[in-house]
């Protein structure tokens, strides 16, 4: 297991401080919240891609559908935000279970394709189902009061709630990866037939990993609805699945912090560049994809980690 190095510890401390003071140093809180939601989403994908070795090209389904569910329970049923988040998590896990049962038996490229196809169906349901608002999406979802006390209408309160959820889930993912269960996932990634012959029913482990990942993605989706106030078709579109892969890849597949970094870069790019360069955003995002795959496959964080290790080895 990779031990937390001093450098990593320092980086985490810095990050935590940054998260706490972000709104105080003039960062636009809605932007940072959006970033954290996508970071969560990317962490969810990474749990699967990085730590189980399964590439899902359909993660937007969990993220997006849960986003709708959260919006629906708040807007139409008047549920409080904490229940909305919870329902996002649960719904994500449930769809994950369905997807998992179908897809888990396939590997590699096939797995990617099957998840993509299943996600297309979810996206179709979202287009057709009456409660999603079709092409227009669910708009104007109020944030409400957390636990009946904290008014999330204030960006600052909402921000700290989001940050707290993020930190907790991030720690939870770390725990999952190093847990006894995480060890089995690692075996599966390294040598699946061997894991089977040791008596592990790998499909069940993969399925649980898939469900956990989907649950986190669902939570991220419902958080996003709370933060932004809407859920739309682009949340379930396959290009969102592509984007979250890019985030993970850019930051570093199989590193803990990589997806967070990747989400930061991609969200920031889209935010900063959208008005300035128009269609070139797509070109730039595409180019980053290409560059990542060609030049730093381990992602920025992965490469940094390697570089640090090498330097230490030399010293």
């Amino acid at each position: 297991m990779q031990k937390t190095s001093n450098a990593a510890r320092a980086a985490y401390a810095a990050l935590l401080v940054l998260i706490v003071i972000a709104p105080l140093i003039g960062l636009y809180p809605v932007f940072v919240m959006k970033l954290l939601c996508f970071a969560l989403f990317a962490c969810a994908l990474n749990l699967l891609l990085g730590f189980t070795g399964l590439l899902s090209f359909g993660h937007a389904a969990f993220f997006g559908f849960s986003a709708y569910v959260a919006g629906y329970v708040i807007k139409s049923l008047g549920w409080p935000p904490e229940l909305a988040m919870l329902s996002g998590l649960v719904v994500g896990a449930l769809i994950g279970l369905v997807f998992g049962v179908v897809a888990i038996r396939r590997q590699g490229i096939y797995f990617a394709m099957v998840t993509m196809a299943l996600a297309q169906m979810v996206s179709f349901i979202c287009l057709q189902a009456p409660f999603t608002g079709g092409e227009d999406g669910l708009q104007g979802v109020p944030r409400g009061k957390l636990l009946g006390v904290f008014d999330l209408g204030s960006d600052t309160v909402m921000y700290y709630v989001t940050a707290l959820v993020f930190v907790l889930v991030y720690l939870a993912i770390r725990r999952i990866v190093t847990s006894p269960f995480g060890q089995v996932l690692k075996m599966i990634r390294e040598n699946e037939p061997r894991a089977t012959s040791l008596g592990y029913e790998v499909d069940r482990y993969k399925l649980l990993a898939f469900v956990l990942s989907a649950a986190v993605a669902g939570l991220a989706g419902s958080m996003k609805t709370l933060v932004m106030g809407f859920a739309t078709l682009s949340d379930v579109h396959w290009s969102t699945s592509g984007e979250v892969i890019l985030m993970t890849l850019l930051g570093g597949v199989g590193t803990f912090f990589g997806p967070v970094f990747g989400a930061g870069v991609v969200v920031a790019l889209q935010d900063l560049l959208a008005d300035k360069v128009g269609a070139w955003v797509t070109v730039i995002i595409g180019a980053i994809f290409v560059l990542c795959v060609l030049a730093f496959r381990k992602g920025v964080v992965g490469e940094l980690h390697d570089w640090y290790e090498r330097r230490r080895a030399r010293a």
Binding site: V114, A279, F289
Partner: protein, 295 residues
């Protein structure tokens, strides 16, 4: 009037014919994908973009240089093929031997780049390409009026598909291709110029996409997004047919076109998703696809 499940026979037949036209495009595109996946082990996400480039190439040739359809039918695939050569030489070449997922991701990025560039240049509202004069009429089939051009598309695609199938499954070159699929280095060590073969394969796959693009241009608007709308469906076709299976992707392409046509009769909204439903069902019962060999 004769009816099938409450649908007039005429409408039924008409939709089948139209499904076949769509199927012809699925077949051509999935064939190219299968060929590329076979030899390069790359799921070519850029395939849709290459299809789009093919259509644009034809449109630009007509618009700027006055090149007619028949000439474009040859030239545009060539252009796309050359683009394929460039892509293979500069980018894909560096991925051989890695996990195929990297190929998927790289070409995904590539598709975005191509699409973005054309969007910047031409917007998304679409350009129209006239039907060539020779085929401009329509034939009254009794149950529907079928534009001659669409009949031509089906025919042309069948010819192209069968030709490609023959090369791959029945010639020595094809045997190299199939062996190269598994262990290109070893085939090369036997004395086969594999890098050249790989390059030409990608170029040929790209050219097929380009050809499909040219054929599509007179039917639909030529827009930068035309490829990305189609590619996900074509992926599903390839998976249903069995990844890497040549005949599988041709047949599945045609069949799914027909099924989609039928869906349009019974539940039009679902026509865009029926392919995925079928894909899931097929994979549950035949994990390697309809025509795929067991893994």
């Amino acid at each position: 009037m004769l009816e099938i499940f409450g649908i007039p026979l005429q409408a039924f037949l008409g939709q089948l014919i139209l499904g076949l036209v769509n199927g012809a495009f699925y077949a051509m595109l999935s064939l190219g994908l299968a060929v590329i996946f076979g030899l390069l082990d790359i799921v070519n996400f850029a395939h849709g973009a290459l299809y789009m480039v093919g259509a644009f190439a034809a449109w630009i040739m007509l618009d700027k240089l006055g090149v007619n359809f028949w000439l474009a039918l040859v030239l545009a695939p060539l252009v796309v093929g050359v683009l394929g050569v460039v892509i293979e030489r500069t980018l894909l070449k560096r991925l051989y031997g890695l996990d195929p997922l990297y190929g998927l991701l790289l070409t995904f990025g590539l598709a975005q780049i191509l699409e973005g560039v054309f969007r910047d240049q031409y917007g998304v509202s679409g350009q129209s390409y006239p039907v060539p004069d020779l085929l401009s009429g329509a034939t009254n089939l009794g149950f529907m009026i079928l534009p001659n051009y669409r009949a031509f598309v089906v025919l042309a695609s069948l010819v192209v598909c069968l030709f490609t199938w023959f090369i791959i499954e029945r010639t020595r070159l094809g045997a190299y291709l199939r062996a190269g699929t598994e262990n290109a280095r070893l085939v090369q060590a036997f004395g086969v110029n594999v890098p050249l073969m790989v390059m030409l394969t990608y170029a040929a796959g790209a050219a097929l996409a380009g050809l499909a693009g040219v054929l599509a241009a007179p039917i639909i608007q030529v827009t930068p997004l035309m490829g990305s709308n189609l590619i996900v469906v074509v992926f599903a076709v390839v998976v249903i047919g069995g990844m890497g299976s040549i005949m599988g992707s041709i047949l599945t392409g045609l069949i799914l076109g027909l099924i989609e046509g039928l869906t349009r009769v019974f539940y039009p909204e679902a026509s865009s998703v029926v392919v995925f439903v079928i894909m899931v069902i097929v994979l549950i019962f035949r994990p390697a696809g309809l025509f795929g060999k067991e893994a």
